[in-house]
Symmetry: C2
Subunit: 328 residues, 2 copies
């Protein structure tokens, strides 16, 4: 019998284990066009926190006492669709469960790029794609730019660091603690800021004495304010996430936001799914960087479906380096 | 003997009369290429507050015990340049004084557009140009958009309201108090919000139940946060000024800034002087709207050079409706 994590109540602030319950999931006989997938890896991502609130957003909220959703890779075990055969490796969005029944239209075969399947949840999936389109479309980043990226040890941030280095930028990353900072440095970052070790505005000023051209924001709050403080003329900010604010708390304060005017800063919010029509570009470039070793994957793997909420909660306490995954 | 207002000390927070002194100004014999102008109108503008701080910005800071500068129109009374003759009506940036000695290269003859000369400090000058380029370049505003503009009774704001109506937008303006709101309504705004009369987020939600496509920011702070709260997908914000923050006080807090991501909001800071090469477009369009009566000028005029700092200080207490000018 398949099981799926259900959202049982909406978190107020930081979610806890009490918001979730693992329940048996009735597995229907497959209708026409439906495919059954045995999942091997599940993705947990910070954006899922937003779907736990009952507010209109870019993705609809999770429903109470219904299965959660999210990225997953696995293998087809039963197919009522001519496009999929048993044994096909696939990626889909009905995760948080061990077995998924997915309409063929919502299922994608993994391109043959010679990488482990779980990479399609990371550098070749949502997080790598977010880094790629955020950098090159939202922020219009280009060779020679000085780039600052927050949460640089995270899944999106570590992809940003490596892609930006592959494209000839100077990269400053922030992370929390010596171990993560060492990891960011190992990815090729020119400078690393430990945001737990002192004032961000001061540290960024020392790391980028001539200022920054691009800021890739995963964090919001003080990181964003430090980027305002050190933006050069015509700087571009890609706003990918604001994990500092996902669980409530004090509203962000900005002491340097007025520099938007003098420096003609452009701030652009974006969402990966707007770029699905351009995935071929992404697979070509990212596949190339992975093949050449310029982009490497680093996963933090939690074992077992039972641990899925724990893996998710770890995203907000810095438990992951690189991509957080659940292996089934 | 000519006189000029000097900055005697840098204000800490809100400026006071004590920061300024009116002093006699030695009037040199004119060198080659120099022109003497008897000024008839002086401009005071919020951006001048920034130049009173000793910080690197898009214009250099005013120097202590040196004459202030700013927009001025007047008439040539002596010329050592072949390009200018006595009696020419001109506009230049050496204001805050009754008589200016200006290099010909920094002097512009007023185009023949059949308007009073002081309009070249307002709707045909810095404030109208700021409205025009902010709307059409920074915010990419277009027919059919729903636009929100703060400080809509001010010089820039009142131009934004009228230009946006001339281009077929739905316009919501904010202003402080019943009298200014009535003025904004008289300019053609579809809805007016009195920011002194209640919660901005709530009021903007009522005025724009379907949200806003464009926000033209003159104020920052709560106004900007309300715009984040009600932005539609792909909204564009032109950040022109943040008068709420010019004189210090608490840093701005943003409760709704995270909507930048979900709504893919673009925030663009801009400065009028970046567009000087496109002034011909501006004179053509703005001249046309003025000739057709679609854009009207409303000035708040203070009489006499002695009153210049008072006029300037009035910008921060809402003393002006439309453009604040000093008549000499």
């Amino acid at each position: 019998m398949a099981r799926a994590w259900h959202l049982m109540s909406r978190p107020n602030g930081m979610p806890t284990m009490n918001n979730f319950a693992l329940k048996e999931l009735a597995q229907p006989t497959l209708g026409e066009g439906m495919v059954r997938v045995k999942n091997s890896f599940l993705s947990v991502d910070p954006y899922m926190r937003g779907r736990m609130n009952d507010v209109k957003s870019y993705v609809p909220p999770f429903q109470i006492d219904a299965p959660m959703e999210g990225g997953a890779v696995g293998e087809v075990v039963e197919s009522h669709d001519l496009g999929f055969a048993i044994g096909d490796k696939v990626v889909h969005m009905l995760g948080w469960r061990d077995e998924s029944v997915v309409p063929a239209a919502a299922l994608n075969k993994l391109p043959e790029l010679g990488v482990p399947p779980q990479d399609f949840l990371g550098n070749l999936g949502l997080t790598g794609g977010t880094a790629y389109f955020g950098l090159f479309d939202a922020a219009q980043a280009k060779e020679g730019d000085t780039l600052f990226v927050s949460a640089a040890a995270g899944a999106v941030g570590s992809a940003v660091v490596q892609i930006a280095k592959a494209r000839g930028m100077t990269v400053i990353g922030s992370a929390g603690g010596a171990e993560k900072c060492a990891f960011v440095k190992s990815l090729g970052a020119d400078a690393v800021i430990d945001y737990k070790s002192g004032n961000l505005v001061k540290q960024l000023g020392e790391a980028a004495p001539k200022g920054i051209d691009v800021y890739f924001d995963n964090v919001g709050g003080e990181h964003l304010d430090a980027a305002f403080a050190h933006a050069r003329k015509d700087a571009r900010f890609a706003i990918c996430g604001m994990i500092d604010s996902y669980n409530g708390g004090e509203p962000a304060q900005f002491r340097f936001i007025m520099r938007v005017i003098g420096m003609r800063i452009r701030v652009q919010g974006f969402i990966f799914t707007d770029y699905l029509a351009q995935m071929a570009d992404f697979y070509r470039d990212m596949g190339g960087w992975i093949a050449s070793g310029q982009v490497k994957s680093r996963d933090t793997i939690v074992e077992g479906l039972e641990k899925t909420p724990e893996a998710f909660l770890g995203l907000f306490t810095g438990a992951n380096t690189g991509k957080m995954l659940v292996r089934l």
